[in-house]
Symmetry: C2
Subunit: 514 residues, 2 copies
């Protein structure tokens, strides 16, 4: 604990980092034992609920796919020939959403990486869909396959990352018609965690499902009981579901594969300028989507997705991790719990660099997600710049913030043994606890070990080069990449995977209208 001890420890940590070994807690199920924070009353919540039912009855939602409107007509909604607008009796909506399960398991190809969604559990997913990648060495560049693969390696390496939740960066150097095939083959090989498919037309989502089935060796018959891939469906807010998304909802719902239904309700742009109004619209769109999946097949697995934030009213730029975002995330949780449906929100920020702004906006997001009992935190690791970039350093910063949240959620031991009154009596006034038996028995596991925080004193920190958190994160992500190994996959599975992907590539993949 003297200066020498600190030096030795720094050297040990540097060696660990060179070997890619970072102090991490194990991959684990995370539960939130604390009561959810509720910032509006039950009456106010009901007012939002009822207003969203009025939206669904009076204004309605555009469902642009005719097949979807046929399903709605069959289910009893108000559908007029040739009109994309569908209106819904409130009883129809309430009857349908009741069938959505309150929890389910998402299966990874490695059963040790399965995740349960719902209840008081929280899973953290990686960033999804940025068009750019960035790091401190090379700066910002368009998304590409190499960066995509490296992010997938970090998905595997970071124990607090429970799942892939979208392409961590869009690999635009792969032709669009085969991109989903190469991206998901790579994902299936580089990680054994739960993977993700995009709803961009029928061929693409069916290919994604098939790849997940091969990787996890899940037959068509077993698929309903072993959902092994999820997708996100965004409403094209305001009040519209587009054709590729609806196709995804139909194909996924038929099979019981989880759909994260997420309206994109930026208050002041695609939704009313008030948080309350944006939430009413979010709720109307989410309920319509959730009900639609149940109309496709009762018991279809869905998450209630919230993405309400505000825009900078002077420029129209989206803002994230704002006070308005926090309020929306917490109330979104209240709504999802009212319907007893798992809840998705996000770890977001609008900073252009992995700096203090990125951290405070992300921290606001994470605290709101955790306090609001969000069940799935999408964009949990790596999101920067309002989602326009995936940042390698930010991914490590997020891992640190998430690991701290997980430690915060561990219930405290409250017992005479924990209190240590004997140690207090032994130490007495003015003493110290470093060497007591109570301390020695517990110190190695007493506190959360930081992944990234540097608690050295100033002089030591300066001697080591005065590295800021983003610069240290740069070293950590490289260390993790250097030690990544492909998780075990049976040779026969790998062959089946390659055979399928190669065949589909040879067939031309998926065209614009497939």
């Amino acid at each position: 604990m003297a200066r020498t001890g600190r030096r030795t420890r720094d050297a040990a940590r540097e060696r660990m980092e060179e070997n890619g070994v970072i102090p991490q807690i194990p991959f684990q199920e995370v539960r939130n034992p604390y009561p959810p924070v509720e910032i509006i009353s039950t009456d106010q919540l009901e007012a939002i609920h009822l207003a969203s039912l009025r939206v669904l009855e009076d204004i309605g939602i555009n469902f642009l796919l005719e097949e979807a409107r046929d399903i709605w007509r069959e289910a009893g909604a108000d559908v007029k020939p040739g009109d994309p607008r569908v209106r819904f009796d409130r009883n129809l909506i309430e009857d349908l959403i009741r069938h959505a399960p309150s929890e389910f398991t998402l299966h990874a190809r490695n059963p040790a990486r399965n995740i349960m969604v719902g209840g008081n559990r929280i899973v953290f997913g990686s960033v999804g869909s940025p068009p750019n990648a960035t790091d401190l060495d090379r700066g910002r560049r368009g998304g590409n396959y190499e960066d995509y693969s490296n992010f997938m390696r970090l998905v595997q390496q970071l124990n607090v990352c429970h799942m892939m939740s979208g392409y961590p960066v869009e690999p635009v150097d792969i032709e669009p018609n085969i991109r989903h095939l190469e991206a998901l083959r790579t994902a299936s090989v580089l990680t054994d965690k739960v993977i993700f498919g995009y709803s961009l037309g029928r061929r693409r989502i069916l290919d994604a499902i098939k790849i997940a089935q091969i990787a996890g060796q899940v037959s068509d018959e077993a698929l309903w009981d072993k959902p092994c891939i999820s997708t996100v469906v965004n409403a094209n807010s305001p009040l519209q579901y587009d054709i590729p998304m609806l196709i995804g909802m139909i194909e996924m719902s038929k099979r019981g594969l989880p759909i994260i239904i997420t309206p994109f309700t930026l208050a002041g742009a695609m939704a009313p300028v008030t948080v309350a109004g944006a939430l009413v619209q979010q709720n109307a769109e989410a309920l319509a989507g959730i009900a639609f999946c149940q109309a496709v097949k009762k018991g279809a697995r869905v998450l209630y997705g919230g993405f309400t934030s505000n825009v900078d009213m002077k420029t129209g730029a989206p803002a994230f991790g704002t006070p308005e975002y926090s309020q929306a995330v917490l109330i979104g949780g209240q709504l999802a719990r009212r319907y007893n449906i798992p809840y998705r929100a996000s770890n977001v920020n609008a900073s252009n660099a992995p700096d203090a702004q990125a951290a405070w906006e992300s921290s606001n997001s994470l605290w709101s997600c955790v306090m609001g009992h969000c069940n799935m935190v999408k964009h949990g690791l790596g999101w920067l710049e309002g989602g326009l970039s995936a940042s390698f350093e930010k991914m490590i910063i997020d891992a640190e913030m998430i690991q701290m949240m997980i430690a915060f959620l561990k219930p405290l031991e409250i017992s005479d043994d924990a209190f240590g009154l004997d140690a207090m009596a032994d130490v007495g006034p003015g003493g110290h606890f470093f060497g007591t038996a109570h301390t020695l028995a517990r110190y190695e596991t007493a506190f959360n070990p930081p992944v990234l925080a540097d608690w050295s004193n100033y002089e030591t920190w300066a001697e080591k080069g005065s590295l800021t958190a983003d610069q240290r994160a740069n070293k950590v992500y490289k260390a993790l990449l250097s030690s990544h190994e492909e998780p075990a996959m049976d040779e026969s599975v790998r062959e089946e995977l390659d055979a399928f992907v190669d065949r589909r590539i040879a067939e031309g993949g998926a065209g614009m209208d497939d």
Copy 2:
């Protein structure tokens, strides 16, 4: 809202910053309308309470000042001649702490800057006591009068800073015997907010009280009803109150001046290695201090201070803004509410730079303070490096984070008017809300305006020099300094202030043992 709009706005903002005009919300009372987060059960809370009473009965606390032990003997505690250790019957403690008021007003020399402490209110104070100052231009240097004065100017300029809570940096270039006189004269001149005195012996605290009385024109007779200065008293943990602190407690309590009683219980160093054990010790020390003030004078104004955090067990370095700190802050709030005494915690971090680590650790601290219904957030603005440095940039970063918290705590408008269903019907599927009447009527005040966050798109941000949050904070603090003006003070008051301070300086100020 187009590119031109953004450019114009950036230019406007730059001009504003050059003029020292920063988008800030007004100075205001902050209330937390949300329920406090409670992470342990009532039974568990009672177990901590009862264990701390056992500490007070069985182990006791050292009160090093004989005058203090005389007060305790008089009050009925178990005091042995020549022994610093005092032991307390639990009924004595419980009877005494009942007299501590649950809320009070702290009076500033400008009544518009008075602050109420207690209930669901939160006040944010500036950083106190670092030995060093730092900024990006000049780096880290020993505390000095120039930096002290500049920090005091920021205390005045930042609207979310409710009060001075300690010397923002120690002005070590002023001789120790007159430092308190110069420092408090300067504080009284540069800000009209509530000021702070240190309990470093009788002469110093009496001088501090007198300066506050002159600045606020509060007579000795009026002082009990118009408390115009506060102090912090730290237990010298474990289980000890030192002489200068006890003198401060006596002099302040006699006059009803608020004392922030704060044990310094770092788990694993000055307290048991468990959060629960450290909290038991914190609670024992705090209750002893609070009861002592009531033994001095019933109704003495106190805050229950929590400062429990953990140390890095490999080096002994203190850590802040950790998961353990969050748990301790939330449970500290539960304890303070059990006793119905206002609660103090802190906005702390252990980073050596105003970087992402500083932000995530501070954000963890602030969220815990706010969710735990802390009434006074000490070190709210400017603390860095575990309290060893006051940072100009961090002060601006903290102002941004606090302003966001205040916006988050504004109750949402939940009403048909806020919902904007007519706007939704008008805009319809696929439209946008920028130009609707609902938006135009509300957009200027709809959302919290950032002080520091840059939400520009990447290209615009890069054109402006790719400034990170700390670099932008550097510009903001300078702009604020450049526009600081001394708040109005009557000429006669200024003369009285100078006459007192000059006389006391001529008398030699306060010696080591005064």
